[in-house]
Symmetry: D3
Subunit: 128 residues, 6 copies
């Protein structure tokens, strides 16, 4: 069991290097197992599979979270994407691409989320 | 205007090489402009942008359509992904990854769709 | 109580004139009250309000059901729209408009549904 | 008619005992009938049916609102659940269970909502 | 190309007369083409089609955005609807009608959004 | 690891007693780990937790799947609910309750799914 947890943490130490403890702290007094599930299921079982690299996985997660309209988790994964060497331009392109599949409202909301993260990290303006 | 249309068709000739005319035929007697919009907007304006390659774009579209539960379009894009050299294993991995973001029901429905396409194309069993 | 039911039925006799009994028959051995709720709540309380006419209401319902991806109910309301003098072209236009708000996958699925209804009623090709 | 309204209010006096008037006040100058619909349809017609008790109904509503991502209404129904003797642990368990059906993003957002309600009511930490 | 852009702007000058530049400013340093897409695709290609008038189009968009739960865009289109002579009562009626198709939670959230816009514009209380 | 799998299987042997192998067979040549994830995550980690009984869990899952519009999984869980002693009437009541939170279209689709299962099992008409 410990093994599964450690395996998941090894990915999170890369993708979420700046806020790795937040996921546990936020639920420690209400649902401590929820944080554990996130480490042990997606990070341990899925993100460690070698058939797809972390960069492609994070871009696909950004596509999914934009589609879902899940803004706080999208922001966390935009940071994760930057941490595995996605460029800001790649992130913007994938969000923009979603407009064909989900329309403009959720695309706009996701782009605003990206803008907030990029502003915090002083990555704007993009110069592509 | 013709230019925009031709530009979009140049992508569709790659991604949808086997069924490129279906998109026009299906709506020709009810909404012919809808087919044109699809060529001129996503394919011409988005898929031709160089910052992200077609392979990554198709995997992200698969992520989005799995999230959305849009099965007929997912099947079309699984074919598109194969046409731009995504492997069946990569497609399966991205669908499986979605389980973390959308849960198992829509993931299962998407995997069944992938299975149907792969069976038609005699690509099963996957041996990775 | 009877009064509320009769009031809702007076709208359904217009919008669903060809299949008004289906709504009751389908659930009579499992959930008879569900059919009654539909008559007494949306049809009696909402569709009878005079501030918006039935034609505009049906087009807005088509917009909502296209957005929701609820195809069987969409088909029923496309028939309802025709019954309150919406033209096939107006119905097509509203479905096409949705592409901006929900993207192409659900728009395509809705347009296919419209095509099926219009074919049954021998309304194709549209000549606008 | 009055009867239907009173019947719905008899449930709301239990589930929403602390904020029963908010539902009317918020819409009184824009859509007063919307508050009435809520009393007369779900509370009067559904929550009064005896085949399922209020506690189970509120847990199922929490499951639905978590799935829907409707946070303000979820918070209101978490209070409603506490008012019909659901324990905080039961509420947390149902939200956590949803992760299998909707994935982690919406589950996390719902759990944060539960945490806010439980903090206001001084119910944390949970000690089960 | 310029032509398509100008054509879209001619609609936006009516529907978004007070905030027409916001759409470009917000994304100018991150995704300038996204603003252009919105002008050139929905506003130029769809809203200019004559088969349905702008008033009906805006009411249908309100129906869609209420269904989608896209609150910021809904607020923008409520303003757009007022700018093409929809009455506040018509807007309220369409939002209320959605309760039948999407349930009360998203209907309530949309009505609160409408209330905020109407309060800003000093249009409350509605007196119909 | 085996332990986690066996723990999940002990629940599935109750809820899915008639079709327990389907979940593995369907994906064995394309994504065998997906079946394992379902056993090891929701069934092993969640359904075995004692704070809520299996009957309440299945009703809440029915609420979620109705909300999500995931019909094949809903049908499977309606069978699961019957296997842990939910009555057909309780299942119908929870689906009907959802109309308040998701509107009639998805409620109707879920009720039709329930009707199909109950017909197969010769449980209709319901007599409560």
């Amino acid at each position: 069991m410990e093994d599964r947890f450690e395996k998941g943490m090894s990915v999170l130490k890369i993708t979420n290097k700046d806020n790795i403890n937040d996921i546990f702290k936020i639920f420690e007094d209400i649902a401590p197992d929820l944080g554990r599930f996130i480490v042990e299921f997606p990070y341990s079982e899925i993100y460690t599979r070698e058939a797809v690299d972390l960069k492609t996985r994070e871009l696909c997660t950004i596509a999914s979270l934009t589609t879902l309209g899940a803004i706080p988790e999208l922001k966390s994964h935009i940071e994760g994407a930057l941490n595995v060497d996605c460029t800001p331009t790649e992130i913007v392109e994938i969000i923009m691409q979603m407009s064909a599949y989900i329309g403009f409202p959720r695309t706009i909301e996701a782009m605003i989320a990206a803008k907030e993260i990029f502003e915090e990290k002083d990555l704007l303006p993009l110069t592509e």
